[in-house]
């Protein structure tokens, strides 16, 4: 799984797993932290169970909006949460879909939270594109820009 990871972030959060899990799955709690500064989050849909949908709209003071949305895949309270993720532009067009997995592990002082965002949705991985694509991409990404530049 790590091979496909776009992003892996780890934090020690000073809260027990159970209430921390609620910060992710309770609409009232989620809006407290979901939106970037300058935006106000509101939950349009949040059905925290496998195959349940979620959508959070983030509104700027000038009225402009962006949203994030997806479908829950795993809701294993309070250990693991997995959902698909995509940005929606103002026109409601959904961008590239990825999968976000959040693991909650009790630790001294609170919860060790590990967030992994994968580049692919499961469908692509199931179709067999995942691993090969990922390896190729890593090689691509590892290629220094100089290489492109030198062709000019």
């Amino acid at each position: 799984m790590n091979e496909d990871a776009t992003l892996r972030l780890e934090r020690l959060i000073p809260m027990e797993p159970e209430p921390l899990f609620a910060l992710w799955t309770d609409p009232v709690q989620l809006v407290k932290w979901w939106a970037p500064d300058g935006y106000e989050a509101s939950v349009a849909t949040l059905d925290a169970r496998p195959a349940g949908r979620w959508r959070v709209v983030m509104r700027k003071r000038d009225g402009s909006e962006v949203a994030t949305s997806g479908v829950y895949r795993i809701v294993d309270r309070p250990r693991r949460l997995c959902f698909t993720w995509a940005w929606e532009s103002a026109g409601g067009v959904r961008g590239h879909e990825t999968e976000v997995t959040v693991a909650f592990e009790a630790a001294p002082g609170g919860t060790r939270l590990v967030l992994i965002q994968q580049r692919f949705d499961n469908k692509q991985a199931r179709d067999g594109h995942g691993a090969g694509w990922s390896a190729a991409f890593d090689r691509l990404a590892a290629c220094p820009r100089m290489k492109f530049g030198s062709l000019r």
């Binding site: 776009t6 992003l7 972030l9 934090r11 959060i13 000073p14 809260m15 209430p19 921390l20 910060l23 709690q29 407290k32 932290w33 979901w34 970037p36 500064d37 961008g95 590239h96 990825t98 609170g110 939270l113 967030l115 965002q117 580049r119 692509q124 594109h129 090969g132 694509w133 190729a136 991409f137 090689r139 691509l140 990404a141 290629c143 290489k147 492109f148 530049g149 030198s150 062709l151 000019r152």
Partner: protein, 116 residues
């Protein structure tokens, strides 16, 4: 000569979903510029099929072509990976800041413990 469009995330991802096209891209990254014939050489598929793959890569904005006399050359575009990089850094920025906010929110809701 067709001018290829600037690469877009979905197009790049879709183009790279195919193993033959990934191999072509890897060869171009290693070699710099190749003639279309050289691109096709290691593959046991028709030149026509290679041409189609090159077309997909070109439309996705990953490669560009150059014609010199009767030879046709292809190479990676300098900005081929930009949409992917932009997107990746956007994701990283979002989640890093979001987890900061989560941490602050959690800390504010958790009764402070006395340090022993």
């Amino acid at each position: 000569m067709v001018t290829s469009q600037a690469p877009r995330l979905d197009g790049v991802l879709a183009a790279l979903a195919d193993p033959t096209r990934r191999k072509i891209v890897e060869r171009l990254l290693a070699a710099g510029e190749l003639s279309v014939g050289d691109v096709a050489a290691p593959f046991a598929i028709s030149t026509q099929a290679i041409s189609r793959h090159l077309q997909v890569l070109e439309r996705a904005g990953l490669i560009e072509r150059r014609v010199e006399r009767q030879w046709r050359y292809v190479r990676m575009r300098g900005d081929a990976l930009e949409p992917v990089e932009t997107w990746l850094s956007r994701q990283r920025r979002y989640w890093t800041a979001a987890l900061d906010r989560l941490e602050t929110t959690a800390a504010a809701q958790t009764p402070k413990r006395r340090k022993s």
